[in-house]
C-alpha cells in the first residue's frame, strides 16, 4: 500500500502535466518519449516489439526494462537471466509472477480481485494483463469477456 | 445492521400498521359486543364508548385494507386476490375472513343503531323498515358470528406471519395468540380513548367493565411475550439467534424493553390497578392509559415484523 502511495503523487502530477502539455501547441509537434523507451541497450533492437506505452512506462515510476525482464548479461548470443512474459515464455509461471510481486503485494492484489488468489503463482500474470500497450486490456473488461477468459482455460469440453 | 434497512427485509412498516389496524378493529368490535351484551342492552347506541367502537372498527379495517392495497406492487390488480383463492394460503383465507367480517360488521352496526336509523327514516321508506326489522330478528346470530370472525381476524394477523418458515422468530406457534390478545387490548384501549373523547363518562360502567377485562388481558399478554421469547431461546439454533438479536442491545432492544414492556404493558397495568383500587377515574387517567396501550401495541407490531425478518433459518 505504502509503495503505491509513494508513487501515486508524482504519478498523478506527471499525468496532469502530460494532459496539460498535450494542449500546448509546442508539445504537439514532438511527442514526449518516456524515459524507459530511451533505454539504448534494449530499444536498439526491440524498437518494434519493446516500446512501453502503458502505466508502467511513466517517468515518475522510474522503471527500466531490466526491472521486470532482468539483466541482459550475454543476451542475445549467450546465456542470460532474461525472462519473457506470457504462456510461450520459457520462464515458468512462478518465476514470471515473482517479477511482478517485487512491487505488487499479494494482499493488495487479493483485494483488487479474488481471481489473483486462486491463480497465485500458478498462472503467469501476462495471461490476463499486458503492460506494454497504453491501456491494459483487462481494465474495464465486460462481465461477459471476463467470463469467457475464464472458460478459455477452464474448459471441460 | 440498520434497524429499518437490512438484507432479507421484505415487508416494511405499512404491513405493521395494517396488522395493527386489523387488530384494533377486531378488538374494538369484540368489546362493543361484550358491552352491549352484558351491560348496556338496547340503549347501547347512546353510550360514547359503543359509538367510538362502532366508528373505530369499520374505519380501522378500511384504512388497513387501503394500506395493504397500496403496498402491493400492482395496486390496481388487487381484485385478483378477491377472485382467485388458494386454500393453503393464510393471506387468501384471511382476505375471505376480512370480507365476511366486514359484511357481518355492518349488519351488526345496523342492529345496534336500529332505533336512531328508524327514527331518521320516520316511516318514509317502508321497505327499509321491513329489512331492518328482519335483520334485527337475527341479531343474536349476527353477534355470535361477528365475535367468531373478529377473533379469527385478530388471530389471522398472527398466522399471516407465523406461516413464514423462512424466519424462525415469526414461524412461532405463540405468535397468533400474542397478536390476538394484544389486538384485543388495543381494541379496548381504542374504545376507551374514543369513548372519553366522545364525551363518555370516564367513571361509567363501561370503563369499569373494560378495565376489569383489560387487567387480565395485559397479564396474559405478558405471559405470552415471555413464553414467545423463552420458547425461541430454548429452541436453540437460529431461533435463539433471532431472539437475542431482537431483544438484545440495539435500537429494537430499546423499543422492546422501553416501548413495549414498560410503556405498553407495565404502565397501563399499573394505571389500571391504581384506578381500580383508588376508584378514581378521570378523563386524563383513562386517556393516558389507553394511549400507552395503543402505542405499545403499535410498537409491538413493528418490532415483531422488523426483528422477525432479521434472522433467517
Amino acid at each position: 500500500m505504502s509503495r503505491i502511495d509513494k508513487f501515486a503523487a508524482p504519478l498523478l502530477a506527471s499525468m496532469l502535466m502530460l494532459v496539460l502539455g498535450s494542449f500546448s501547441p509546442a508539445a504537439v509537434a514532438a511527442k514526449v518519449e518516456f524515459k524507459i523507451n530511451q533505454n539504448k541497450q534494449c530499444i536498439m533492437c526491440h524498437k518494434r516489439n519493446g516500446k512501453m506505452f502503458g502505466l508502467h512506462a511513466n517517468d515518475a515510476l522510474d522503471l527500466t526494462c531490466q526491472n521486470c525482464h532482468g539483466e541482459k548479461a550475454g543476451h542475445p548470443r549467450k546465456a542470460s537471466e532474461l525472462i519473457g512474459f506470457g504462456a510461450k515464455s520459457v520462464a515458468k509461471s512462478d518465476v514470471q509472477t515473482a517479477a511482478c510481486l517485487q512491487c505488487h503485494d499479494v494482499e493488495t492484489l487479493s483485494q483488487a480481485d479474488w481471481t489473483h488468489d486462486v491463480h497465485s503463482n500458478k498462472v503467469n500474470c501476462a495471461s490476463c494483463h499486458q503492460l506494454h500497450p497504453e491501456i491494459d486490456p483487462i481494465i474495464g473488461v465486460t462481465a461477459l469477456d471476463r467470463s469467457e477468459m475464464c472458460s478459455g482455460c477452464h474448459s471441460a469440453k | 445492521m440498520s434497524p429499518f434497512h437490512f438484507d432479507g427485509l421484505v415487508w416494511h412498516w405499512p404491513i405493521a400498521i395494517y396488522l395493527f389496524l386489523a387488530g384494533v378493529s377486531a378488538g374494538a368490535i369484540s368489546f362493543a359486543i361484550l358491552l352491549k351484551h352484558f351491560k348496556l342492552g338496547k340503549d347501547a347506541y347512546k353510550s360514547g364508548f359503543i359509538q367510538a367502537a362502532c366508528l373505530i372498527a369499520p374505519l380501522a379495517v378500511f384504512a388497513g385494507l387501503g394500506i395493504l392495497v397500496l403496498d402491493l406492487t400492482k395496486p390496481f390488480d388487487f381484485w385478483k386476490i378477491l377472485v382467485f383463492y388458494n386454500g393453503t394460503s393464510v393471506m387468501s383465507v384471511g382476505v375471505a375472513v376480512l370480507m365476511v367480517y366486514q359484511l357481518i360488521l355492518f349488519a351488526w352496526l345496523i342492529c345496534v343503531f336500529k332505533e336512531p336509523v328508524l327514527n331518521w327514516c320516520n316511516g318514509r321508506w317502508p321497505l327499509v323498515t321491513r329489512l331492518l326489522n328482519a335483520l334485527v330478528k337475527h341479531e343474536p346470530s349476527i353477534s355470535g358470528f361477528l365475535t367468531i370472525f373478529a377473533l379469527s381476524l385478530g388471530a389471522y394477523t398472527g398466522f399471516l406471519l407465523s406461516a413464514l418458515t423462512t424466519f424462525p422468530m415469526l414461524n412461532n406457534p405463540v405468535l397468533p395468540l400474542l397478536f390476538l390478545i394484544s389486538g384485543l387490548s388495543s381494541g379496548a384501549a381504542g374504545t376507551l380513548l374514543g369513548g372519553v373523547l366522545l364525551k363518555g363518562d370516564p367513571d361509567g360502567k363501561e370503563v369499569h367493565f373494560i378495565h376489569n377485562i383489560e387487567i387480565p388481558i395485559i397479564l396474559v399478554e405478558m405471559v405470552l411475550l415471555f413464553t414467545f421469547f423463552t420458547g425461541l431461546i430454548l429452541s436453540g439454533g437460529q431461533s435463539k439467534v433471532a431472539a437475542i438479536t431482537a431483544i438484545g442491545e440495539g435500537f429494537w432492544g430499546w423499543v422492546f424493553w422501553g416501548g413495549i414492556v414498560v410503556l405498553g404493558l407495565s404502565l397501563p397495568l399499573a394505571f389500571n390497578l391504581f384506578m381500580k383500587t383508588s376508584s378514581k377515574r378521570k378523563f386524563s387517567y383513562v386517556a393516558i392509559t389507553a394511549s400507552c396501550s395503543l402505542v405499545g401495541v403499535l410498537l409491538l407490531r413493528n418490532f415483531i415484523l422488523y426483528t422477525g425478518q432479521m434472522t433467517v433459518a
Partner: protein, 225 residues
C-alpha cells in the same frame, strides 16, 4: 331459545375449526400427482470455478433486468494461505422445492408447480405483488421484476430454452460442466447417474421443502463448525 342459540354458536365454532383443520391437514399430505417429468439440477461445487458464465447466460436468455437476478454464484473464501488458496462457490437460485412454501402462501395461485415438469413457476398476470412468496422463500431467491412488477425467479428456463428443446441456459453455458440438468424419473438420465455416483446434499432440507437442486460439496477450504 337461549339454549338453541348457544348450541348454534357452538356448532358454528366447531364447523370453522373443522374446516380450517381440514385445509391444513389436506395441504400437508397433498402431493401433486406424478405423471409428468420431475426436472432437477445438480451443481457440482467441486467443478465450479466461479466464472459467472451461468448467471450471465441466464440474464441474457431470460431478459432479467439489471439490479435483480434469477441466478447468482456466491463466493466464500479465500481459505488457506498464499499461494494455496481456495474459494467455495454455491448456487443461489430457485431450489424448485417439491413442497414449495411460495406456492403454499400465494393468495392468488400465481405461484404454482407445473404438473407436467414439476417446475415451480410464476403466472405474472395473476401475481398482485403482495410479496408474501418473497418472505416465505427460505432460500430468498424471489424478487419483484422491475419491468412486470410481478414476482420472478428461476424456472429452469421453462419459458425459453426448454421450449426450444434445449438445456437451461446456465447448464449450456457452464465451461466446466459443473451443472447437470434432467428428469429425476428417468433412471437412464445423466442427472440420475451423477446423483448416484457422488454424495450430494441439498440446502435447508430441515425445513421440509424437499428442494430439487442438488449440490456436490466442495472438499477444499477449511472445516467450519
Amino acid at each position: 331459545m337461549k339454549n338453541s342459540r348457544r348450541l348454534f354458536l357452538k356448532s358454528a365454532c366447531a364447523v370453522v375449526v373443522a374446516a380450517s383443520g381440514y385445509t391444513i391437514a389436506k395441504s400437508s399430505t397433498e402431493s401433486v400427482e406424478i405423471n409428468g417429468k420431475k426436472y432437477a439440477l445438480v451443481h457440482d461445487e467441486t467443478k465450479c470455478i466461479g466464472c459467472d458464465a451461468c448467471s450471465i447466460a441466464c440474464r441474457e436468455v431470460n431478459q432479467v433486468p439489471e439490479g435483480v437476478s434469477r441466478l447468482e454464484i456466491e463466493r466464500e473464501g479465500p481459505y488457506g494461505e498464499y499461494p494455496e488458496q481456495y474459494f467455495r462457490f454455491t448456487r443461489k437460485s430457485c431450489q424448485q422445492c417439491e413442497d414449495s412454501p411460495c406456492v403454499k402462501v400465494c393468495p392468488t395461485g400465481a405461484a404454482y408447480k407445473d404438473p407436467e415438469t414439476g417446475i415451480v413457476s410464476v403466472d405474472s398476470w395473476k401475481c398482485v405483488g403482495c410479496q408474501y412468496c418473497i418472505a416465505a422463500c427460505p432460500y430468498q431467491v424471489r424478487f419483484i421484476n422491475p419491468v412486470t412488477h410481478a414476482a420472478d425467479k428461476c424456472d429452469f428456463c421453462k419459458e425459453t430454452r426448454l421450449k426450444e428443446g434445449k438445456q437451461p441456459a446456465c447448464v449450456s453455458a457452464c465451461p466446466t460442466q459443473a451443472l447437470t440438468f434432467g428428469d429425476l424419473k428417468d433412471p437412464d438420465s445423466n442427472i440420475v447417474k451423477v446423483l448416484k455416483s457422488a454424495p450430494n446434499y441439498r440446502s435447508k432440507t430441515e425445513l421440509g421443502t424437499r428442494p430439487k437442486v442438488f449440490r456436490i460439496a466442495s472438499q477444499e477450504g477449511d472445516i467450519t463448525l
